[in-house]
């Protein structure tokens, strides 16, 4: 029996090391488990790490607008990094970059990603925001359902994940002004013979569940996930059978694998273009059906005061609109400028 206990004890220690070491995502880090042991103990604790000694100089060059850093903003500047949640499912918004190398001098804890390990429009915007706050940006890839539920228990600071501003969400999040507007569109399979949106009346359409695309397809502008009805450019056809999937990428995958339950799906035009490049046999049906405003979300339930962070981020977003940074990023990732507010 004693041998059994020793065996179990050894396995427990081994698995603790494995689970802790495996937190780093680059191959280089996982090849050296021996050197990871000291950091494992540190990161087993809650996510906040010690403040770096260079904090004072960073804070001095941090904010462009003379906002007094207090509450969460002060904490972020003291710790030296901004922890951003992003939903890593969508090319070109936010996706893992397996060719990126994690910088060795990063302040990011070992269980989160650096901006080098991810790529996309949202990632670049998050990195730029961190720069304007004078800190490094670290990314955490939380499940979208957990991000949109709010009450993040202070586990991360902000969400830069193309979150659409909806009435339901405004109750639990503080949103900055939108950093871009995503045109939504409908994609149909090439062999469906559908040439205009009204021909979809009575037909099945696939959407990501609980998205504004689902609200549009169900013709339900009062749904908490819906964008305001006055930003709908095209009225949804009557009596479409709405088929929700966990994400709209599942709709594209289903079509790519040849499934025939539906021949149309609704999502952002950027995702449709990306799907077409990746070989999904669809075309976009006409122009955008609506423009959704996407903004940065901050949890209202954060234990620290978020007012100075929100106003600083708002100033940063405004500056990024005015000096053309957002337009440049939009052109880079979407080949079109989506950052202009609808007139």
């Amino acid at each position: 029996m004693k041998k059994l206990y020793i065996f179990i004890g050894l396995i427990t220690i081994a698995s603790l090391l494995l689970a802790g070491c495996g937190g780093a995502t680059t191959p280089a880090a996982t090849q050296a488990p021996a050197t990871e042991i000291p950091t494992t103990a540190a990161t087993e604790a809650p996510t906040m790490t010690e403040a770096p000694t260079s904090a004072p100089t960073e804070a001095a060059t941090a904010t462009q607008a003379p906002v007094v850093a207090s509450g969460l903003l002060a904490t972020i500047q003291k710790r030296g990094y901004l922890l951003v949640s992003t939903d890593s499912n969508y090319e070109p918004y936010s996706i893992v970059d397996t060719s990126g190398k994690r910088p060795s001098d990063t302040k990011c804890p070992s269980d989160v990603l650096t901006t080098a390990e991810m790529k996309g429009f949202d990632v670049d915007v998050a990195a730029e925001l961190g720069k304007r706050l004078g800190v490094e940006t670290c990314l955490v890839t939380v499940d979208w359902a957990i991000i949109t539920a709010g009450n993040w228990a202070d586990k991360w600071d902000i969400s830069v994940g193309s979150m659409t501003v909806t009435t339901g969400r405004q109750k639990i999040f503080e949103f900055t002004s939108p950093y871009y507007y995503v045109p939504a569109g409908v994609a149909v399979t090439k062999d469906s013979g559908i040439t205009s949106i009204d021909q979809l009346a009575g037909k099945p359409i696939c959407v990501g569940e609980s998205t504004d695309y689902e609200a549009w397809a169900s013709n339900d502008p009062s749904a908490p996930n819906s964008v305001p009805e006055d930003s709908w450019l095209v009225k949804p056809p009557a009596n479409m059978t709405v088929i929700p999937q966990s994400t709209d990428q599942e709709c594209a995958q289903a079509i790519k694998s040849g499934r025939k339950e539906f021949s149309a799906y609704a999502t952002s035009t950027g995702v449709i273009a990306s799907n077409i490049t990746d070989g999904v046999p669809v075309v976009q049906l006409g122009g955008p059906i609506f423009l959704e405003p996407d903004a940065i979300a901050i949890d209202k339930a954060h234990s620290e005061d978020i007012t100075s962070l929100v106003s600083t981020l708002n100033d940063a977003v405004k500056a990024m609109h005015e000096d053309g940074t957002l337009t440049t990023l939009s052109m880079k990732w979407f080949k079109e400028d989506l950052t202009q507010a609808p007139k």
């Binding site: 494995l18 070491c21 937190g23 995502t25 939380v142 499940d143 957990i146 009450n151 228990a153």
Partner: protein, 282 residues
């Protein structure tokens, strides 16, 4: 019976009937094992051909995979194995402890303990695992307990599987004949001695196959832990890389192969433990 050797005048030990029978039985088992092995290899080859993308005669089709993608991203996906194993093993240990306590609690005559174990089993089995993970990750901090993504996951998995496994252990304990307990009492053993030295060893023997099942299921449920964002295990890496390059099928197949290997290893240990526990019966 004289063997041919003695007829020729050379002295040799006589082989008894029993030994000849035993050797014949061994040969039969060996043949059985070899045929099973060959069948396994044939089935494996059929599966590999199915995914090889080659053109077969008779117009049969096979599935084409992007091997370049597999080669480029194998390392990235494989680096999640350590985390998956780590989470699984920690959860298994926690689940086994809780299952044993809950099963014993069910047999208790002390009302609060009986109530606690039945309440635990009912509540945890009746609610989704994702909700439990969510609770430990985001709701506990409101009570002042802050757990990292990894530890919320281990706790949620351990608690969840502990509840299911407690029923397995309970049925194992119940299957030990009443006569055993009576005999132990007659010998003057205390209840805890009876449990430790008579009932549990016999109960565990019946509990091992279903428990092994639960362990294998748990290695796949460990994928849920990456929903917290701070853990990047095997399934997370496979789905994210698959989504990034629109090669979900290839990426998930890589993950599937690794999960299968882990399952094979667990099954091997399970059969070894089963053999050890049924030593008394052979």
């Amino acid at each position: 019976m004289k063997s041919d050797a003695t007829v020729a005048g050379i002295s040799e030990p006589a082989i008894s009937q029993a030994e000849l029978l035993f050797q014949a039985q061994q040969r039969k088992m060996q043949r059985f094992r070899t045929s099973v092995g060959v069948s396994w290899i044939v089935l494996l080859l059929v599966m590999i051909t199915l995914f090889s993308g080659v053109k077969l005669p008779l117009g049969l089709k096979t599935i084409h995979l992007d091997t370049e993608f597999i080669r480029d991203n194998l390392r990235f996906i494989a680096s999640g194995i350590g985390v998956t194993i780590g989470i699984s093993v920690l959860s298994i240990i926690l689940a086994t402890l809780l299952a044993l306590l809950a099963a014993l609690g069910r047999l208790s005559n002390f009302p609060p303990i009986y109530a606690l174990s039945t309440f635990y089993v009912s509540l945890i089995r009746g609610t989704p695992l994702f909700l439990q993970l969510f609770f430990f990750f985001l709701a506990l901090p409101q009570l002042g307990i802050v757990l990292s993504g990894l530890w919320s996951g281990v706790l949620a998995l351990g608690l969840n599987y502990g509840a299911y496994m407690s029923e397995i252990f309970r049925s194992g304990i119940a299957s030990v004949g009443k006569g055993q307990r009576e005999a132990a009492m007659a010998l003057g053993m205390t209840p805890s001695q009876t449990m430790r030295r008579v009932v549990l060893p016999q109960a565990l023997r019946f509990a091992i196959p279903p428990t092994g099942n639960e362990f294998i299921a748990m290695t796949k449920d460990s994928a849920l832990v990456s929903a917290t964002g701070f853990v990047h295990e095997l399934m997370w890496r496979a789905t994210k890389v698959g989504r990034a390059y629109f090669r979900s099928m290839e990426a998930l197949i890589i993950a599937a192969v690794f999960y299968w290997i882990m399952t094979l290893i667990l099954s091997y240990f399970q059969s070894r433990i089963e053999a050890r526990f049924s030593r008394g019966d052979r």
